[in-house]
């Protein structure tokens, strides 16, 4: 976490991540160009570069779309999720270079502007086989560049979380557009089945991981879903001591995930959704007395749901009580910042 906005808050992990990312991109481009020139001595540099940049960016987008579900399926992938923004900006840069080179090469130096040519040079909008594939790539690029430009927390705070989240969910629209861009463009002119197989494996991998992660989320919701235990709306959660110290038990009540954290003998109920990027706060831990979101390390005081000063984030808290050694939750949120919800189990042993 950081209070003031900086372009990048460097730490050793982030530096290693970026160095490895840069080396990987250079290696990919070098291998594509090197193998391309050896295999096809007649090839031109600009065509190979265009294809190297395009395939590198598209591959990076696949990796980006796999990291989210992988981290949902196994938390050991979280270090890659934390730094995903850098991969996203790199991918958008590769896309920009590919798009810019294509615009210059195919549409530049003509009798109309390159941008006008992009949308008018192929008029066959009504034909699937001849459909203009380049505007599809351009539309995807606009989304990806917009996402890269607004990936910083400055924009998250200023656009508001719902707008920011909606904008960044457009990555799936961009992915769909790029699949069409490739399928209706390069795939139509290549004679080898390898590009088609690679695209198929990519789509199946991304789609398969998303399905598996969604299935796991549904399973979790099924396991944590409870019904009110009385007419008053209080929910019988579990026996005190069933929650591991420093962790949370998730409860699904009225469609909302609530995390009941245990810090020693004190229990607190918070919304399980982080205010930062809707991260899974309920899968976080208590570290130094604060509930920490596993995605980007945002912290909240368990008693009141407020981030430690000078941060401004607040998550809703809920009333808890202990009756006959069992924890009861009222899923009606308290006023933001209210500290009256948490309860102490006094002398509990896990």
């Amino acid at each position: 976490m950081g209070h003031s906005y900086q372009a990048v808050q460097w730490n050793p992990n982030k530096k290693r991540y970026d160095a490895l990312l840069l080396v990987s991109v250079v290696l990919y481009l070098g291998v594509f160009l090197g193998v391309g020139f050896v295999w096809f001595p007649e090839a031109t540099a600009e065509t190979l570069l265009l294809r190297a940049l395009g395939t590198a960016g598209f591959l990076a987008l696949h990796v980006i779309l796999c990291i989210g579900p992988l981290a949902r399926l196994d938390r050991r992938w979280l270090p890659l999720l934390y730094n995903r923004r850098h991969l996203g900006v790199t991918m958008a840069t590769l896309g920009l270079l590919h798009g810019g080179l294509a615009l210059l090469q195919f549409h530049g130096f003509g009798d109309v502007s390159a941008f006008e040519s992009l949308f008018t040079s192929n008029p066959r909008w009504g034909s699937l086989a001849q459909f203009p594939f380049q505007p599809l790539g351009a539309a995807a690029l606009v989304i990806l560049v917009l996402m890269a430009a607004t990936s910083h927390d400055f924009w998250l705070a200023n656009l508001t979380a719902p707008v920011w989240k909606a904008l960044h969910m457009l990555v799936y629209v961009a992915y769909g557009l790029l699949v069409m861009h490739v399928a209706l463009g390069a795939l139509q002119v290549e004679s080898s089945p390898i590009p088609l197989v690679l695209l198929g494996v990519g789509i199946l991998t991304v789609g398969g991981l998303q399905v598996l992660a969604a299935r796991k989320d549904r399973q979790v919701d099924g396991e944590i879903g409870v019904s009110p235990g009385s007419d008053t709306g209080w929910i019988d959660v579990c026996a005190i001591g069933e929650i591991e110290d420093g962790r949370a038990r998730l409860v699904l009540a009225s469609g909302e995930r609530i995390a009941i954290f245990r810090d020693g003998d004190r229990y607190s109920a918070l919304s399980a959704v982080c205010q930062h990027q809707n991260g899974p706060l309920g899968e976080g831990r208590i570290v130094d007395g604060l509930a920490v979101c596993p995605w980007h390390g945002f912290q909240y005081r368990p008693k009141c749901g407020r981030s430690p000063e000078p941060f401004q984030e607040v998550v809703p808290t809920f009333p808890l009580k202990i009756v006959e050694e069992r924890l009861w939750l009222d899923p009606t949120p308290l006023p933001l910042g209210d500290e009256s919800g948490s309860t102490s189990g006094g002398g509990i042993r896990a």
């Binding site: 193998v35 096809f40 190979l48 190297a52 003509g110 390898i194 831990r285 570290v287």
Partner: protein, 255 residues
């Protein structure tokens, strides 16, 4: 061996160092991913459609001499080396200028003149084009004898693909098919001569300079058909080593 103990660790990104077992897990898999990505790079590189053995001598400027003709596109009629005494004594080289532009506005005032010009060669198979530097055009002889080597027109129906001569002859690789469609349309719209590319069963290509029924330029009218398989009915004639296909774009048929 599965390292489940890493699952109990808790990674906080803003901390200077991550939990050791988690970071080992990530490092190992990232290295695999990089190896996989490089494998994808190799596969993607070697699975490209073979590139044509055409050539654009970009940056290599030569000097040429010949007679300027317009058919209606500008061509330079150059003397042909007498390697084959029975063959034509001249060759017709199409002319273009930098970018996606035809050379006709620059060459029209010199129609019929013997000229010297500088430019770069573009060539594929037996077809040659020159990207001329317009400012280097110099008249050597105002009116030169025009070679009388035109053949009679013969009705013909051909199946092929319209390409722009500049890219297809060597400036772009590939210079045809759908991925090149936009560029071909831009070039033809800018005045570069359109060519009907016809391949025989063995894949050998023949090029026909595409003009209207009266021999006029029909660049704008062929644009909707560029880079698609089409059937063209018209009449074909030769002018030296240049094949000219006269056809009405209204009668083009998509295949």
């Amino acid at each position: 061996m599965r390292d489940d103990s890493a699952r109990d660790e808790f990674f906080i990104g803003w901390q200077a160092e991550g939990p050791p077992r988690t970071m080992r897990f990530v490092r190992a898999r990232v290295l695999w991913w990089i190896a996989l990505a490089l494998g994808v790079a190799v596969l993607a590189a070697i699975s490209q459609r073979p590139f044509a053995s055409s050539n654009f001598e970009f940056g290599a400027v030569r000097t040429f001499e010949g007679v300027l003709e317009h058919v209606p596109f500008p061509v330079l009629v150059v003397d042909r080396p007498a390697a084959d005494p029975a063959g034509p004594s001249t060759s017709r080289w199409l002319l273009t200028v930098f970018g996606k532009r035809g050379a006709e506005p620059h060459t029209r005032p010199f129609d019929g003149a013997r000229v010297r010009l500088k430019g770069s060669l573009i060539h594929r198979d037996d077809a040659v084009m020159v990207e001329l530097l317009p400012e280097t055009l110099a008249v050597l002889e105002e009116r030169s004898a025009r070679a009388d080597d035109a053949s009679a027109a013969t009705p013909i129906t051909l199946r092929g693909e319209i390409v722009d001569s500049k890219c297809f002859l060597g400036v772009m690789k590939p210079g045809n098919l759908k991925t090149h469609r936009a560029c071909a349309a831009r070039c033809i719209s800018g005045g570069v001569p359109p060519v009907l590319l016809v391949r025989d069963e063995s894949g050998r290509a023949t090029y026909f300079l595409l003009v209207g029924p009266a021999g006029e330029a029909v660049n704008e009218r062929v644009l909707p058909y560029v880079a698609e398989p089409i059937e063209v009915t018209g009449s074909v004639s030769t002018r030296g080593d240049l094949r000219i296909l006269r056809a009405d774009p209204e009668a083009f048929r998509r295949l």
